[in-house]
Symmetry: C2
Subunit: 223 residues, 2 copies
Amino acid sequence: MEKSLSLTEENYIKAIFQIGTTPESNVSTNALADNLQTKPATVSDMIKKLSYKKLIFYKKYKGVTLSASGSKEALKIIRKHRLWEVFLVNHLYFKWDQVHEIAEQLEHIKSSELINRLDDFLGNPTIDPHGDPIPDANGQVQLGPSKLLSEMTSHENGIIVGVKNENPLLLQHLDKINIRLGLHIEVTEVNDFDQSMQVKLADLGTLFLSEKITSQILIAKNL
Amino acid sequence: MEKSLSLTEENYIKAIFQIGTTPESNVSTNALADNLQTKPATVSDMIKKLSYKKLIFYKKYKGVTLSASGSKEALKIIRKHRLWEVFLVNHLYFKWDQVHEIAEQLEHIKSSELINRLDDFLGNPTIDPHGDPIPDANGQVQLGPSKLLSEMTSHENGIIVGVKNENPLLLQHLDKINIRLGLHIEVTEVNDFDQSMQVKLADLGTLFLSEKITSQILIAKNL
DNA sequence: ATTAATTTTTAGATTAGTCTAAAAATTTAA
DNA sequence: TTAAATTTTTAGACTAATCTAAAAATTAAT
């Protein structure tokens, strides 16, 4: 029986999950120290520990990425956090801006039985009071309805969840320009004349896409 | 702003409250070690700390007693524990024997706003699923309906909450034999012939009481 | 009323999580 | 492309909570 994470470990895992824009992005020591209100030296130590426990991947000076088991843990914590927020707002009548601090504590309560019963009690909500999606018991996130990238306007963002037609040539092309499912994407500019777009891909910088391509890519909100 | 107790400190305070049969009774180092599944040496150290913080009274080798502020803390923790138990049983449909472990975690969540709203949500219950009373927001415990000591049978127990008639001679006599309000009392034997009783008073040993006296003393369940 | 048994405390270590200060590696910029 | 700035890691120390082993105080028993 592998023993459960400490409160501190859980907070590190959650922070890594939330700072990384994509599951693949490397989270820096400083960013983590900042987020957790602690010192880089402290983070360095903890990173070694989490790495030893195989919750994260870590190359010295290169930041960290969650492993599969690390992601699973992160999703469990986020699920708990968001379900408790629903409870606080819908049943105890807290305002949506008052619940974060309390949910930060409640998210560490250990009992999957409890959280699954709470889920049922709340009517299995898929989003929390802030509109963020709630992972299900298997860590799966229910994504919102998808729409075409071409239908989005400047500053809109979302996750690439699919393509309209599974055309091999299209897929090959997307591959070439590094567009993959699951990537976070943000529209930075739409050209009025030809509907071409400038988009920003997490960790992959800026890209220009023609309307021919944007009308093939499906986007959904929130991972 | 005096900072709040650590989880460990809260557990010590709660244990002292629960082991002591009366607020005055001295709780031994060993009893505490036993209850908290730790070692007497550890308890000795923690006792010094809690004593320094004036949460308990402590004389070396003589055990500890909660101070006023210590009792207040204990009651707050117990209130939270029992309210959460009501939630788990009444709204999440846990069985009464499944809730203790989870409530042990939930009782440490810090937010009086939360617990007071939970109290309202639950309909301000006065007893938990095990029949134990729930202290109100001021730490006051709603005692059950009182009855005369003379109406009790062997092995029944309760708390002395008053006398039937405020007769000075009676009160003086009770004082003399060390009977005071708030004391825990247990009937050990009832004499069929004259209704006299043998009772055990917490920390004060065994006492014989005539029917003239037992018919004047009011007892309620659960402090 | 001594001695024996028990309880409690002290002394010295250990672990998790944290810190500061300094060294090492990497990145940025002249 | 070398120097400067930044980031990250190491080294050493601290605190809270814990432990074991041994000493001291109290209580029980002969």
